[in-house]
């Protein structure tokens, strides 16, 4: 096919395109000219039979034909669509999207996982224990005096066989140390139970995270450094900690730990009740009697432990004013997390 014939072919193809009245007709034109066994393919195959000096021109014309025809086909396709849809009405992109949405984690799980992730990054691993505990693990091994009020039936749920529902996650410490030699570095999130009458800040069923680090030469300065890092990661950069002396049977010295208010930065606001600080956790150096109970030598090793309430942190971070909301499981609440 020479150059002149090729030009004619182009005219013919464009004319057929213009005349095609349906998508099917257009597709037929496309296949006839541009298809795998189409006219243009034949032209290219025949190129080698042309005199060498003509080949560039024919090649160029064939290319022109291809591009112009493709453009014409595209335009005509659009024109045909426009014709069926009517004039100038664009798709309403403001319609609601339609894809199933992700579910959400419960706020208590979110806080737990976040705290666990922070401590895992410091080399802590998660340890677990049962909700039903022995009196020994829950109280005795944790240096709780025999007459301590928390042992009372008014405060702790006992089962018929004398075991109890753990009132803190600390028995996980005991279980873990009984089975492992130092170094021990664990974080133990879990459900706890106290015989509290439910109200806005009390729930008979609640969650704690316990932390324990035991090795040679662990000091209160280590505890401070670790909790300080945690405060910044959990509540936001710039959040600081402070210790106040306190008393727990299983640690000595014992402290309560406040975080500087993540909302006002310490200036005082509604969240921190104008004090600039929020009480978050209890901590201390593991009491030598706890080490003795698990067969560790308190002269050789030391350690720190800390514990915090997950509900409390969730309530502070999310601005939840009633603890019962966390267990209502209202979908309108859950979907916000």
């Amino acid at each position: 096919m020479n150059a002149e014939e090729l030009k004619q072919l182009k005219e013919q193809a464009l004319e057929e395109t213009a005349e095609a009245g349906s998508n099917e007709a257009l597709e037929a034109v496309r296949i006839r000219y541009l298809g795998r066994k189409g006219v243009l393919q034949e032209v290219m195959k025949g190129l080698k039979d042309q005199p060498p000096q003509d080949r560039p021109l024919i090649g160029q014309l064939a290319n022109e034909l291809k591009q112009e025809l493709q453009a014409a086909l595209t335009d005509k396709t659009a024109a045909l669509e426009g014709a069926t849809e009517g004039p100038e009405t664009l798709f309403d992109y403001t319609l609601p999207g339609d894809w199933h949405s992700m579910g959400t984690r419960h706020p208590l799980s979110k806080i737990t996982e976040r705290a666990v992730a922070i401590f895992r990054s410091l080399g802590f691993t998660v340890a677990e224990g049962p909700d039903v505990e022995t009196v020994y693990n829950n109280f005795d091994a944790l240096n709780t005096p025999p007459a301590h009020p928390s042992r009372d039936m008014q405060d702790t749920f006992y089962l018929d066989n004398g075991d109890l529902l753990r009132c803190h996650t600390s028995p996980v410490q005991v279980r873990y140390m009984q089975k492992h030699r130092p170094p021990v570095r664990i974080i133990a999130p879990g459900r706890c139970y106290r015989r509290d009458t439910p109200d806005a800040t009390h729930s008979a069923n609640f969650h704690q995270i316990e932390g324990l680090y035991v090795d040679e030469q662990v000091s209160m300065a280590d505890l401070k450094g670790t909790l300080s890092y945690f405060a910044g990661e959990m509540m936001g950069p710039g959040v600081k900690i402070r210790f106040r002396p306190h008393f727990f049977p299983f640690t000595e010295p014992s402290v309560e730990c406040d975080f500087s208010c993540h909302v006002c930065g310490g200036a005082g606001c509604r969240v921190c009740k104008q004090s600039g600080w929020i009480e978050i956790l209890g901590a201390g150096m593991v009491d030598p009697n706890v080490f003795r109970a698990v067969g560790y030598d308190p002269e050789r090793i030391t350690g720190y432990a800390f514990g915090m309430g997950i509900e409390r942190i969730a309530m502070i971070l999310y601005g939840i004013h009633d603890i019962r909301m966390l267990y209502e499981n209202d979908v309108r609440f859950l979907k916000q997390f």
């Binding site: 959400t104 691993t125 069923n205 280590d222 106040r244 000595e252 030598p288």
Partner: protein, 802 residues
């Protein structure tokens, strides 16, 4: 404990603001929970005498008074019921500013002019009392500023004293703390006595029959006591501390208790049989009427103070009404004793009677100061009750405790706290706290523990003392570091978190329900098998009295509550423990479960949500969810079998098996159970043993490379009896098809009149693809015909061409 600051200042001198003191106390271990300010300078308020009272012409409850303020008479309208001619009351003159910035102006009340206001206690900020006008003493001279009558304003600290520091439950105990914090000394009050008359030994006798539970008992005799009110300052201090004043003798015992922490008791000796004391346990059948006028039966393990015949006090808890101080009392037997804490605690608990006295004895009192407290009270009774103290004291103290010395090593202090403190700092701290050091060198010191610090028993107790005085803020923060713990393993928990993330990706919202449930709720689901549940013997309420045996009941309840709140759909899951009751007194076995629940058109696309949901759809959504979860958790080899179940709809209930082991169930809840929450639409639930889903969470499987040759798709439609299952059809197709069958998909399912009753039409799309070449149409047709033939022959169904 409530600590009036003026009282504290009687014993320790320090120069600081209330806020400064409060901070120092909080950061040394005694948290200040509140600061109460009582009174003010009452500027513009004076004592006034009411000269005349008349009914207000326009109001029944108001009166119009003529009031003299020392210089002039004023007309004042008053609404108080207790206003009386001749009475003295505080008058806020015009211009005075009361509590809350309330300014007194000349005003007209129901048409009558009023020049000032007669005040009740609450209006002056003295208390919450608004029952009537505050009555001033009859000798108050009209015109005297109220501040001169009431004295200066007071600040009261509300302290949280930790259980290890009973010594801080007293003003002197706190004075010791304050002295340590401000590097000053405690001035103990004078306890000198002028003794007269016959010696105490001739006047009474004390027999302690249980010295273990009463390590020390002292008694003094005070004669010629004149009962009357205690001085105002003492009454006021007691009120500030939260104790109701009664009479001078009783108030003095309470005052000394607040002062030094030692609960005392005063008996009217004339009301004691034989005038003597026996400390013993109660005898069977003994009963005592206590000061609160309650008859209390005594148990044989309760320690009592008795006279020659009967109990006259429950030791350390409360005195008896029969020997109490009354207006006619002349001779007082003053008890200052030390009781062992555990016995007091159990007695107080058994009687349901907690007092300031039992509170202190339960926590431990200082045996060393027993006699001092008695002397102090006697000295005050001499001053304020006209008492004459009989010479001497009976002091039964058979086994004084041994001296206690504790060695404290500097190296231990520093290594536990992460410090580099010096021995001088350590010694200084002990000196400030009043803890005598009996020996020391550069590496250790030995502390002789005074009796008022019974909590100090071990080296670590001293380290804590040092830490709180040195200042926790001065302990450095050391960057987190530590040895990696090689054998530590928390894969299970990580797998669980990943599983929960997958459930969220599948579109479910996580819930958390209590572990304790109502037995009534469980009845719906287990047919009332209450013996298979762990029931708490002492629940808070019946609603939370049983440990849950399944997550499904509360899931249904949660779905139902949301439904009741007009939420039209929900897809929820919970991961939690269930508790399986064991026979033979074993504790319940805890099993981790995963539960999902659905209602409403959760599986539909947006524009098709109003059409009612059919049980078929609900079941298939649930099954799809289950399949998706199993795929995400790498769990293969599961199968479903039909299940008979009390709460699931027949036909829409299956058991989930892994191998041959049941691991859960899924299905659509039956009408009677869902009716309990007024559901008129299908509700789907699923419950699984979580741990089975976690085993392979982190397993890695080799992938199958996707085929590169083009596929050939062929459809087959068949009409079959409704009883024929998809599974059966699949099995035939898979058996008949060659290796090249890559995929079978059901793409249409239809039941309707056009194909006849009891029949259904099912259309499958089959994809053939060869691993090593492009399939020709002829080859594909041959495969497909084979499939169709097999379907016709094995299942006797009508296969349509397509």
């Amino acid at each position: 404990m409530k600590l009036p600051i003026s009282w504290l200042k009687d014993y320790v001198d320090f120069d600081d603001t209330v806020e400064g003191l409060s901070d120092k106390l909080t950061f040394s271990g005694t948290e200040v929970e509140g600061i109460i300010r009582v009174g003010s300078d009452y500027c513009g308020v004076v004592a006034a005498e009411v000269k005349a009272v008349e009914r207000h012409p326009n109001a029944d409850r108001l009166s119009v008074c003529e009031v003299f303020d020392g210089t002039d008479d004023w007309q004042v309208v008053c609404g108080a019921p207790n206003v009386a001619v001749g009475g003295r009351y505080p008058l806020a003159r015009i211009g005075a500013v009361l509590k809350g910035g309330f300014k007194i102006k000349k005003s007209k009340i129901r048409g009558v002019e009023s020049f000032g206001m007669l005040c009740a206690e609450d209006e002056l900020g003295l208390s919450e009392n608004h029952e009537g006008l505050m009555e001033l003493p009859g000798d108050a001279v009209a015109g005297t500023p109220l501040s001169e009558i009431l004295g200066p304003p007071e600040v009261i600290l509300e302290l949280e004293v930790t259980p290890n520091r009973p010594d801080c439950l007293s003003v002197l105990g706190m004075a010791r703390e304050v002295a340590a914090l401000y590097d000053t000394t405690v001035n103990y009050p004078d306890v000198s006595l002028v003794e007269a008359g016959a010696a105490v030994e001739s006047a009474t006798r004390v027999d302690v029959l249980d010295p273990e539970r009463c390590p020390r008992y002292t008694a003094r005799i005070l004669r010629n006591v004149k009962i009357g009110p205690a001085p105002d300052w003492m009454r006021k201090r007691l009120e500030y501390a939260g104790i109701r004043p009664i009479n001078n003798v009783v108030d003095i015992t309470n005052y000394v208790m607040m002062e030094c922490g030692r609960p005392l008791h005063a008996f009217d000796q004339s009301l004691l049989q034989e005038g003597r004391i026996e400390v013993r346990t109660a005898r069977a059948g003994e009963v005592i009427r206590t000061l609160d006028d309650a008859e209390r039966p005594l148990q044989p393990d309760m320690l009592v103070i008795a006279d020659a015949a009967n109990p006259v006090a429950v030791a350390g808890v409360m005195g008896g009404a029969g020997s109490e101080i009354r207006e006619t009392t002349e001779t007082v037997l003053l008890e200052s004793a030390c009781f062992e804490p555990d016995g007091i605690r159990s007695t107080s608990k058994t009687l349901g009677l907690s007092t300031e006295s039992s509170y202190r004895f339960e926590r431990g009192t200082d045996v060393g100061e027993t006699e001092w407290a008695s002397r102090r009270a006697a000295s005050l009774m001499q001053q304020f009750a006209g008492a004459e103290t009989a010479p001497g004291v009976i002091d039964v103290f058979p086994y004084p405790p041994a001296e206690r010395n504790i060695v404290c090593r500097l190296e231990r202090v520093n290594s536990l706290l992460g410090l580099r403190g010096s021995m001088n700092e350590l010694l200084r701290c002990f000196a400030l706290l009043g803890l005598p050091v009996v020996a020391s060198d550069e590496s250790f010191c030995t502390v002789n523990v005074p009796t008022f610090r019974g909590d100090l028993e071990r080296e670590v107790d001293l380290i804590e003392e040092f830490a709180r005085l040195y200042g926790l803020e001065n302990i450095p923060e050391r960057s987190p570091s530590g040895r990696i713990v090689k054998e530590a393993n928390d894969r299970r928990v990580r797998a669980l978190y990943a599983c929960q993330a997958n459930l969220c990706a599948l579109g479910l919202n996580e819930i958390q329900n209590y572990s304790l449930v109502s037995p009534k709720l469980l009845d719906l689901f287990d047919g009332g098998k209450s013996k298979e549940r762990e029931t708490l013997p002492h629940p808070i309420s019946a609603d939370q009295s049983v440990l849950r045996t399944s997550l499904i009941p509360q899931m249904l309840d949660t779905l139902g509550k949301n439904h009741a709140r007009q939420t039209h759909e929900a897809g929820l899951y919970e991961c939690g423990k269930v508790f399986l009751h064991q026979a033979d007194g074993q504790s319940p076995v805890e099993v981790e479960r995963l539960c999902a629940g659905l209602y409403g058109p959760v599986g539909r696309e947006r524009f098709d949500r109003r059409r009612p949901v059919a049980p078929d759809e609900m079941f298939l959504w649930l099954k799809g969810l289950f399949e998706g979860l199993m795929a995400a958790q790498n769990v293969g080899g599961w199968r479903l079998t039909p299940l008979e179940n009390v709460f699931l709809e027949k036909g829409y209930a299956v058991q989930i098996l892994l191998g041959d082991q049941p691991i859960g169930l899924l299905g659509v809840v039956n009408r009677s159970v869902r009716g309990a929450w007024r559901f008129n639409e299908p509700v789907g639930v699923m419950e699984l043993d979580t741990n089975e889903l976690l085993v392979h969470a982190f397993s890695i499987r080799e992938i199958v490379a996707p085929g590169v040759y083009p596929p050939v798709e062929r459809d087959v439609a068949l009409v079959a009896d409704c009883s024929l299952t998809h599974d059966e059809i699949l099995r035939v197709i898979e058996q008949a098809a060659p290796k090249a069958l890559e995929k079978v998909e059901l793409f249409d399912l239809y039941e309707g009149e056009t194909i006849g009753a009891g029949k259904k039409s099912m259309a499958y799309s089959l994809t053939y693809r060869s691993w090593d070449k492009t399939l020709t149409d002829e080859e594909a047709n041959e495969y497909h015909n084979g499939v169709k033939r097999a379907l016709r022959e094995s299942l006797s169904v009508e296969v349509r061409e397509g």
